[in-house]
C-alpha cells in the first residue's frame, strides 16, 4: 500500500464462457471459444501474475472465474482437446515460418506466433499439468488476486422470478468455488451485472459479502447514495455490499471515439489466415465441415479507414499499450484527486471489464494491464489498487441503500435478454424452474436411478439458464448453436420430468445425457427444495 494515497482503483475482470463440451463429436467448433480464451487471455494473465510475483510488483486485482469456466478448466476431455488444438496451431505456425521466408515482416510475426503457442503449451502442460485452476489459486492465496464467483451457469437474475431457482444458481456456485479454490467466495459477479432487489438476501445466505452493479444501479438506489458510485453501499437487511461501476474509466477503454483498442497500430481482429490463405493449404487446420474459421494467426494492424491493411508491428503496438496504460493511470490520478476533495473520503473507482476481451479481441489488452499495474506500482503515489474485500475491511462504515434493478447491457436493463429474438425461451425456463422445485419437494430422499435423474434434471435446468444463449440469439453471431443448446436442455429436462413422474427412467439414455451434460458432478437436486 502507498503511504499517502488519495484513493483506490479496483480493476475487475469478468472471466466467463458458457459450458461448451461435446464428447459426442470428435471435433466441435464452439469449443474453440474456450481454447482461444486459454491461449490469448487466461494463460497470458497467469504469466503476468507470475512475473509480478518474481519481480515483487505489488498488485491487487479482482477476477471472476465462473463455475462453468472453472468446470471447463478442470475437465480432462477439454484439457486433452486443448492440447490437440495447440499442437495444430504450433504446426500451422511452423509452416507459416517456412512459407513467409521471403517476406521478413510476416516471417517475424510467424515466429512470434510460433513462440507464443509453444510457450502456452509449455505453461499449460509442463508447469500446470493441464489444469490452470491452481495457477489462479496460487495468486489468490498470495493475496494479490481475489477470485470471485458468479451464478452457477451465468443465469440472469432479473429474469429469473423463481427465488428457489435463483438461490440454486448461487448456492451451487458457492459450493463449486469452495471445491476448486479451497474457501468460500467473498464476492460475486452477477451475470451481466444483473441485479434485482432480493438477490442480496440469497448472497447473504451463501456467505457472499459483495457484488457489483452498473452505475445507475447505485445512483438510482433508495435513498440517494451519498457518495455516488465512489463508495459501496450496503443493501438494507442483508448488509451485503454493492459496488457501482465507474463510467469514466469504462468509457476510456470502450468508447468508439476515444477507446484504446481502436488504435491503428493494434492488431486487426478480422484479418486471419484462416480466411486469407489458400484453401488447400489451410484446410487441414479448419474443422471437418471445411468452413473457413479464425485460427488466431493474424498479420495485419487496424491501419485505419483504408481497405488495405498494413502489416502488424508488435514492438510499436507494445509501445502504444504502454502509452495507453500511462494515459489511463494519469486520468485515474486526476479523477481520484478531484473526488477525494468532493467526497471528503478516499474514493474507490470500480472498473470492470470482460476478461476475454483482453487478448482475444484486444490483442494487446494483457500488455496494457501489465503496463498499468507496473506503472501504478512504480510511478506514482496517488492511487492504490485494491480488491473489494480489502476495501470493506478498511472502510466498513457505509451508507445503507437499496440498489435499483439494473444490468450493464444495452440501455441498462433487461432488453438484451428479453426481446423479439429470445423472449420465447422464458415460458420454458420458468416452468422448468417451477417443476424442478416441485420435483425436489416431492422426492425428498431419492436414491439410485431416481437420484441420478433428479440431479440430471437440475443440470439441464442450469445449462438452459445460461444468459449466453439469449445474448447470442440477440447478437446474431452463432445463433444456430444457441438455439440448439436451449432446445436440447429444454427437451432433455422435459423428458426427465415426465419420466421421473411416470417412474419410467431410461437408464441408457440417462447415461448418455449425464455424459454429455456433465457439469457439476456433485450436484444435489435438494438445493431446489
Amino acid at each position: 500500500m502507498k503511504k499517502d494515497s488519495k484513493g483506490y482503483l479496483a480493476l475487475v475482470l469478468h472471466a466467463h464462457l458458457p459450458y461448451v463440451r461435446h464428447p459426442e463429436y470428435e471435433d466441435f467448433l464452439e469449443e474453440d471459444w474456450f481454447y482461444e480464451a486459454l491461449t490469448e487471455t487466461y494463460i497470458p494473465l497467469i504469466e503476468m501474475f507470475n512475473r509480478f510475483e518474481e519481480e515483487g510488483v505489488d498488485f491487487h486485482i479482482t477476477m471472476s472465474l465462473t463455475p462453468s469456466l472453472l468446470s471447463m478448466m478442470a475437465d480432462p476431455l477439454l484439457q486433452y482437446r486443448y492440447l490437440r488444438h495447440l499442437n495444430r496451431l504450433i504446426d500451422l505456425a511452423g509452416r507459416e515460418i517456412e512459407r513467409t521466408r521471403w517476406m521478413p515482416e510476416f516471417h517475424e510475426l510467424a515466429l512470434m506466433y510460433h513462440w507464443k503457442f509453444t510457450r502456452a503449451r509449455q505453461v499449460f502442460l509442463e508447469r500446470y499439468d493441464s489444469n490452470l485452476i491452481p495457477a489462479f489459486k496460487h495468486h489468490q492465496d498470495r493475496g494479490n488476486l481475489e477470485i470471485i464467483t458468479c451464478g452457477a451457469t451465468h443465469g440472469f437474475m432479473p429474469l429469473m422470478p423463481n427465488d428457489k431457482a435463483a438461490r440454486a444458481q448461487i448456492m451451487i456456485a458457492a459450493d463449486h468455488y469452495e471445491k476448486h479454490l479451497g474457501r468460500r467466495p467473498r464476492g460475486i459477479w452477477l451475470a451481466e451485472c444483473g441485479y434485482r432487489p432480493g438477490v442480496d438476501e440469497i448472497l447473504k445466505e451463501a456467505g457472499i459479502k459483495y457484488f457489483f452493479t452498473d452505475t445507475h444501479g447505485i445512483l438510482y438506489g433508495e435513498p440517494r447514495p451519498r457518495h455516488g458510485v465512489f463508495a459501496p453501499v450496503y443493501c438494507p437487511g442483508s448488509a451485503v455490499a454493492a459496488f457501482g461501476r465507474d463510467r469514466e474509466s469504462s468509457k476510456q477503454v470502450w468508447s468508439a471515439k476515444e477507446g484504446y483498442p481502436g488504435d491503428f497500430y493494434y492488431r486487426d481482429f478480422y484479418r486471419d489466415v484462416g480466411f486469407d490463405l489458400d484453401y488447400d493449404y489451410i484446410k487441414p487446420f479448419l474443422h471437418p465441415d471445411g468452413n473457413r474459421i479464425h485460427t488466431g494467426i493474424k498479420y495485419y494492424r487496424i491501419t485505419g479507414a483504408e481497405e488495405e491493411k498494413e502489416v502488424y508491428r508488435p514492438s510499436i503496438a507494445r509501445e502504444k499499450a504502454a502509452d495507453h496504460a500511462g494515459n489511463f493511470m494519469f486520468n485515474r490520478e486526476k479523477q481520484v484527486e478531484h473526488l477525494a476533495g468532493l467526497l471528503g473520503t478516499k474514493p474507490i473507482i470500480v472498473s470492470p471489464y470482460d476478461a476475454e476481451l483482453f487478448g482475444h479481441w484486444w490483442y494487446e489488452g494483457p500488455d496494457w494491464i501489465e503496463f498499468l499495474l507496473r506503472k501504478i506500482h512504480y510511478d506514482q503515489d496517488t492511487i492504490d489498487t485494491i480488491t473489494p474485500s480489502e476495501y470493506l475491511e478498511r472502510h466498513p462504515m457505509q451508507q445503507v441503500v437499496l440498489p435499483s434493478m439494473s444490468s450493464w447491457g444495452y440501455k441498462g436493463y433487461n432488453e438484451v435478454w428479453l426481446e423479439g429474438s429470445n423472449d420465447w425461451i422464458y415460458p420454458h425456463l420458468h416452468i422448468m424452474a417451477d417443476r424442478m422445485v416441485e420435483l425436489a419437494g416431492r422426492y425428498q430422499d431419492a436414491d439410485g436411478l431416481l437420484l441420478r435423474a433428479l440431479n440430471q434434471a437440475a443440470r439441464e435446468l442450469l445449462l438452459a439458464q445460461s444468459s449466453d444463449w439469449a445474448f447470442i440469439m440477440k447478437t446474431g453471431t452463432m445463433v444456430e448453436y444457441a438455439h440448439k443448446r436451449t432446445k436440447d436442455h429444454i427437451g432433455r429436462f422435459d423428458r426427465l420430468y415426465n419420466d421421473i413422474l411416470a417412474s419410467m427412467i431410461n437408464e441408457k439414455w440417462l447415461g448418455e445425457v449425464e455424459n454429455r451434460d456433465n457439469i457439476f458432478p456433485d450436484i444435489d437436486y435438494r438445493v431446489y427444495a
Binding site: 445512483l219 477507446g259 480466411f275 470482460d354 447491457g409 447470442i472
Partner: protein
Amino acid sequence: MKKSELRKMTKKDLLALAKKKRIAVSESMLKADIIDTVFGGLSKSTGKTRTKARTKVKAKAKTKARTKTKVKAKTRAKTKAKVKKKAEVKAETKAKQAPAPKTGWDNGRTIRQKAVAGKYELTAGPITMPPVESMEIPADYGVTRIVAMAKDPAWLFTYWEITAERFMQLEKKFKDDWTKCTMALRIYDRAAKDHFDMNISYEARAWYVGVTPGGRYQVAIGVITPGGKFVKIAESAIIETPRDRMSDRIDEQWVMPDDVYDRIFAASGGYEVVAGGGSAEMRKMLEARLEEQLSSEGVSSFGSGELMPEQKERGFRLRVATELILYGATEPDAKVTIQGKLVKLRRDGTFTARFALPDGTIDIPVTAVSGDRVEERTIDTDVKKKSSEKAPVIR
C-alpha cells in the same frame, strides 16, 4: 399535445391528466418537472404500445403456425437459407472492414459491442454439424398461467398459456355469449390503485405493455363479456418496474448540500463537473446524459446488420496473392537444403516446400547431398515476380 399547452394548465389539472394517462408524477414535484414528465410520458405511451404490440402478435402467430409439422419443415428450410445468406453477406463485410475515418471503427457501434461479439466470433460459414440427438421442445405445458416481467422501466413483458380445457369451461359458461366475448389483459397498477385493459387476439401468447417506471404491477388475462365485465382466467405475481431516475428520498444520516450531491452525481455519470445552476434542472440534465450513455454503451446491437447498418459501400473486392510451390525427389537417405535450409523428406525421398512470393527476383538453390556424403547436386532456380494494379473500371 404540445409542451406549451401543458404549461398553460394548472398544477392540479396536470396531475389529473397524468393520472388519466397513467404517468407517474407526485404532488411534491415542481410544476416544471411535472410538465416534463407528462410530456415525456405522452410522447412514448399509447401509440408506441400499439405498434409494438401488433408486431408482437404477428411474431407469435408465426410461432404457433410452426407447431404444425408441415409448416414447420418449410419454415426451417427458409430460416436456414436466410441464415446462409446472412453469413455470406457477413463474410464480405468483415473482409471489407470499412471503418470510420478517425478511429478505425464504424461510428454506430462502440468498441465494446464489437468486442463482445468478437468473443463468439468463430466462422463466417454456415455450420453443418449433423445432430447426434435432436430434441423436440413442448409447444405448451398444459398449465393455465400468466407471467409478467419488467423489461425496462417503461415496458413489461407478459406471456401466458390457457389450456384447451379451460377454454372449454369458459365456452360452456358463457354459452351463446362466448363468441361475443373478447380476450383482454388487465394491468393493475398496484401503486396508483388503478388498472387498464388491453384487447388481445386469441392467438397471442405474449405481449409487451408500456407502463411507468418505479411502479408495481400485476397482470391478469381474462375475457370481457358483451356486458363489459372482465372475467379473470389467470393472474401474475406482483412485479416492480425499476426506477429510471434518482430516488426522492434522502438519507437523514447522510445529509449534504444539494450542490455537493449534484457534483458527485455528475462525476458518477461521466466525470464532468457541472458548476452552479438550478439543482433540479441540472439533475435532470445529468439523468438524461446517463440515460443516453446507457442506451449507447450497451453490448447488444452488434453483428446484426438490421440494427446498426454498416456504412454503405459496394461490397466488391479483389485480392490476389502468389505462392510458390517447389517440389522434387531424391534418395530417401539424402540431405536436401533449399537456400541452405534443411528440408524434411518424405519416406519416398520426395519433398515439397511452399513460399509466399513477394515482388522481385529470388534465387533458390536446392542442394542434395547423398546419404554416403560422396555426391552433391545443386539445381538453381531464379524466380521473378511483378504484380501491378490497374485503375478500377466502374460501369
